[in-house]
């Protein structure tokens, strides 16, 4: 038996799965702060009832509360020690934190071109100590190619202030993008404590209910990691909300389908894509608040319209405002909303019809339009906004940069086959959105707890990035911050690089308690370049990224009872 729990800002959802059946679902309000534990317990109790906890194989959590923490800036200040070296002025990227620039530079091959100045570091630390900082992010340009500078700075900090929390950019942002590495490191420092509290609540809940199953947390890329290891990289879990509902849909629709997931909420509609059965990952990394990070995440878009958005007259038209003033008018709320328009056109049975008509008339009287006319206009606007954003997502995906001839030649157009609605407000809009896009529309039976289902079916994923430079005779395992030497520099080849990466992935998997079948390891990226200097090959450069397979553990039974074709 599997349990999935999605701790959202408003509701905590839970599901209990066995084989490919949903045995129980629950939805309880999320209580904040110290009472978080109570919400988690309520949700668990509701789905577990008479189930013997010993029968649970695993419990997976997903949460958006870390994202909320960041949004509300409820965390200690973080200081950044940056080693950017020559190049672009750092000030173009607003790191929005106490920042000190240190001397020193590493180049693209990982060679030191400017040394660190110890006395400068000491002076900066004294200043930070006076100001009361104790959370430090140390980030160097090209640090994934040579971690020495970051490690040296960290050692100096630890030497003087053993209690300070120090994070290194090279371990957190392994891709080549210094500003994103800085932001990601910053967020890792900032969320460390709030995340720790969340993990504590989860642990207590499990102890109280005597659950000793494997516990995982969902990551933004749709994979999971063991709860115990997740504290090292809390940022991986931020933004896992959209991943949860997308994986849920993946579990609820037939395999290999190309689908748009439309999650209509109160004031926003979240969109995600499933291409030939696989959720689409964003090419670069998640945007968290105004920070562009290196966190691998699903490609999701948020459209600022939802069932409870405020409608307002403006000139000869209607504006949909990105805010909520309460429930829809037909359900006793204060202002007209898209839900009222749905009610008038009988696209939903929620709420009171008379109040809905009244709401449309409030707008119609100003604009000189009839009740149905206003309702249709509103619905067309909402559907138009959603469909144009869906089309944009496909276009953006097609236009993702490619750096090889064969990649450009193999770019192709893909269009969705189905639109899948999840979320409270989905029902009325989905068939219209699908109509505009020329696809089928589906609202799965368990749409309202798709996020918890997504968490329950998610599988652990681990990645390894290896960089080998045979001319300089070293390799780096970026996730581990390990730098080793290559013994057979002349004969070291593509296969050796891949084997080495595999070895490290298996090692990492053991550390994380994740089972890996070597044959199932996926190669994400494999680059090999001959280095020619003066017509002679002087070395080879290898970049390898491999990971355990992405996917879901089970699909939920696809009978009449789970798939609702929305006519």
């Amino acid at each position: 038996m599997y349990v999935g729990v999605d701790v959202g800002g408003t509701f905590t959802d839970a599901v209990l799965l066995e084989k490919n059946h949903v045995l129980a679902t629950a939805k309880v309000p999320t209580k904040g702060g110290e009472e978080l534990l109570i919400s988690i317990l309520e949700a668990l109790d509701s789905v577990l009832r008479d189930v013997d906890p010993a029968r649970l194989k695993r419990v997976v959590f997903s949460t958006t509360i870390i994202t909320n923490f960041i949004a509300s800036h409820k965390y200690d200040d973080v200081a950044l020690l940056l080693i950017p070296g020559p190049g672009l002025d750092c000030n173009y990227f607003n790191f929005n934190a106490k920042t000190h620039i240190l001397s020193g530079a590493i180049d693209y091959r990982g060679r030191e071109i400017i040394t660190l100045k110890e006395e400068e570091i000491e002076a900066v630390l004294s200043e930070l100590a006076l100001e009361g900082f104790n959370k430090i992010g140390v980030v160097g340009k090209f640090s994934p190619r040579n971690t020495a500078h970051e490690k040296k700075v960290a050692a100096i900090v630890k030497g003087r202030y053993p209690d300070w929390h120090v994070e290194l950019g090279s371990r957190i942002g392994v891709q080549l993008n210094f500003p994103r590495r800085v932001h990601t490191t910053y967020l890792t420092c900032a969320t460390y404590e709030p995340y720790h509290k969340f993990v504590d609540s989860v642990r207590q809940a499990l102890v109280k209910r005597e659950i000793c199953a494997d516990i995982y947390i969902l990551k933004a890329d749709g994979g999971t990691m063991p709860l115990d290891n997740s504290e090292e990289l809390p940022v991986e879990t931020i933004f896992s909300g959209p991943a949860a509902s997308t994986l849920g849909v993946q579990a609820l629709i037939p395999p290999r389908e190309t689908a748009v997931v439309v999650d209509v909420g109160g004031t926003t509609t979240d969109l995600a894509l499933i291409l030939s059965g696989q959720p689409l990952l964003s090419a670069k990394g998640a945007r968290v608040e105004n920070r562009l990070t290196q966190v691998r995440a699903l490609a999701v878009k948020s459209v600022p319209v939802g069932g409870d958005s405020v409608l307002k007259c403006s000139g000869n038209g209607i504006d949909i405002l990105p805010e909520r003033l309460g429930m829809a008018y037909c359900m006793g709320g204060p202002v007209p909303t898209p839900t009222d328009a749905l009610r008038v056109l009988e696209l939903t049975r929620l709420g009171d019809e008379e109040r809905a008509r009244e709401a449309m008339n409030l707008l119609g009287n100003v604009l000189g339009m009839g009740t149905e006319e206003v309702a249709e206009k509103v619905i067309n606007m909402v559907v138009g906004k959603i469909t144009s954003e869906v089309q944009n997502m496909f276009l953006e995906w097609e236009r993702e940069p490619a750096y090889r001839v064969w990649e450009i030649l193999h770019k192709h157009k893909v269009r969705p086959e189905m639109v899948v609605g999840v979320g409270g407000g989905a029902a009325g809009f989905i068939s219209l959105v699908a109509g505009e896009l020329g696809c089928r529309s589906i609202i799965p039976r368990y749409a309202s707890v798709a996020n918890a289902i997504g968490a329950a079916v998610a599988m652990p994923t681990l990645q390894i990035n290896l960089r080998a430079d045979t001319e300089q005779g070293y390799y780096i395992i970026q996730e581990e911050g390990f730098q080793g030497s290559i013994k057979n520099r002349r004969s070291f080849n593509k296969q050796n690089a891949l084997d080495l990466a595999r070895e490290w992935l298996i090692k990492r998997a053991q550390k994380y308690g994740v089972e890996v079948v070597p044959a199932e390891i996926e190669i994400i990226r494999q680059e090999a370049f001959n280095m020619i200097r003066g017509w002679v090959t002087t070395g080879k450069l290898f970049d390898v990224t491999i990971q355990t397979p992405r996917g879901i553990i089970e699909r939920i039974g696809l009978g009449e009872d789970t798939l609702w074709l929305d006519q």
Partner: protein
Amino acid sequence: MAGSINKKTGLIFFPAFDWAISPTHPEREERLLYTRDQIFEEGIMDLPQVVEYTPSLAAIHDIARVHFCVPRVEEQITEAHLIAAGAGILLVDEVISGRIENGFSMIRPPGHHAMRVVHGNRGFCNINNEAIMVDYLRSRHGIKRVAIIDTDAHHGDGTQDIFWHDPDVLFISLHQDGRTIFPGTGFTYELGGPGAFARTVNIPLLPGTTDESLHYILDNLILPVLNDFKPEFIINSAGQDNHYTDPLGSMKITAQGYARLTEKLRPDVAVLEGGYAIETALPHVNMAIILALAGLDYSGVREPDYWPGRFKETPERTKEVRRMVDELLGYWEKRDNYKPDPRNIRGNYYLREKEIFYDTEYFVENQVEKLRLCTDCQGYLAIESSVDSTYGRKGILCISIPFSACPKCREEAINLYLRQKGTGKYRYIYLQDKSEDAFMGYNTNNNEEWYS
């Protein structure tokens, strides 16, 4: 000014990591690897001032508008060439539509040594990316006057050849003296055809020339000439082999020198050409050009072994540069009162003979170019070209009708094509009618005719 009205700089980065002329050739997979590392690590693509595009493929038709590829376009190019040319076209579209302020096509393979007639690869180039952009601008966007400023260390002899007779395209090439480097041309006396005098400007520089002379030339020659010419569109053939670490060139230009050059020139689109110091120059110079285009501070971009004042100009070189600038300004001032050498005129036609060396595959092409001297237009062009042993003893005939052709020139050119199809004198005959955007070829062995 770049970025002043919040418009972005468009970048196409196409390193063609799976394309090389040969494994150890300077034009190989590795060439833009460190450039990629640098611009990705700097986070350039995330800057609000920058927007990255994926290149699309140029059409065969866009290439046939410029080149006579023998026997056909498809046989002279690979997909990588279509992508490199397509990148320039995409940026042209985006600049003209106003969606971006300017653009940089960081692509390979390069193109500025590719001439009008293409029998093979010359100086690492098969087709001329900039010329394809120019004729696309004129055909698709109604642009008339274009300037190409070629700042590669090698003379842009291909671009010069293509626009030699075109008074509406100003071609300025600044390069290392042809007596010391491939392709051995680009002297001050190469000034363009009889109808386009001084619309070709060559600025040969002695080996060792520094930023100081480069900027003297920009301020005192290139910018004033551009100001007179008033182009509607400026393209920079942004070769980077003038850098002080380049293994093929012997110049002393720095990343800062390139950045200031870009800032002053303000090209609509810059196109990467050569540059083979793949570690020591390209990452820095490409960064410098991008930042200058986007109106961003480039003062922090510097090579690890550079310090301000490292390279000083010698008094002799300074004197020679000043003399040359005066000489070239003199030609420029006389541009509309030029009388062609009567020895080159036969009746109503102006003749030019050329011998073109293909360094990659080692063969020589012989050309006789015949321009109709016309008072109503720039005149059509007929080129006889032959390469020993390639297509037997017979040569080919290439006829090009310009965009602004008068009816008489056009009629005569078409009649020439029709007549020569029957004589059996040539192996292939081509008609490139830019005024009607129709490009055809004819194989006299099997009487097959095709449109490109």
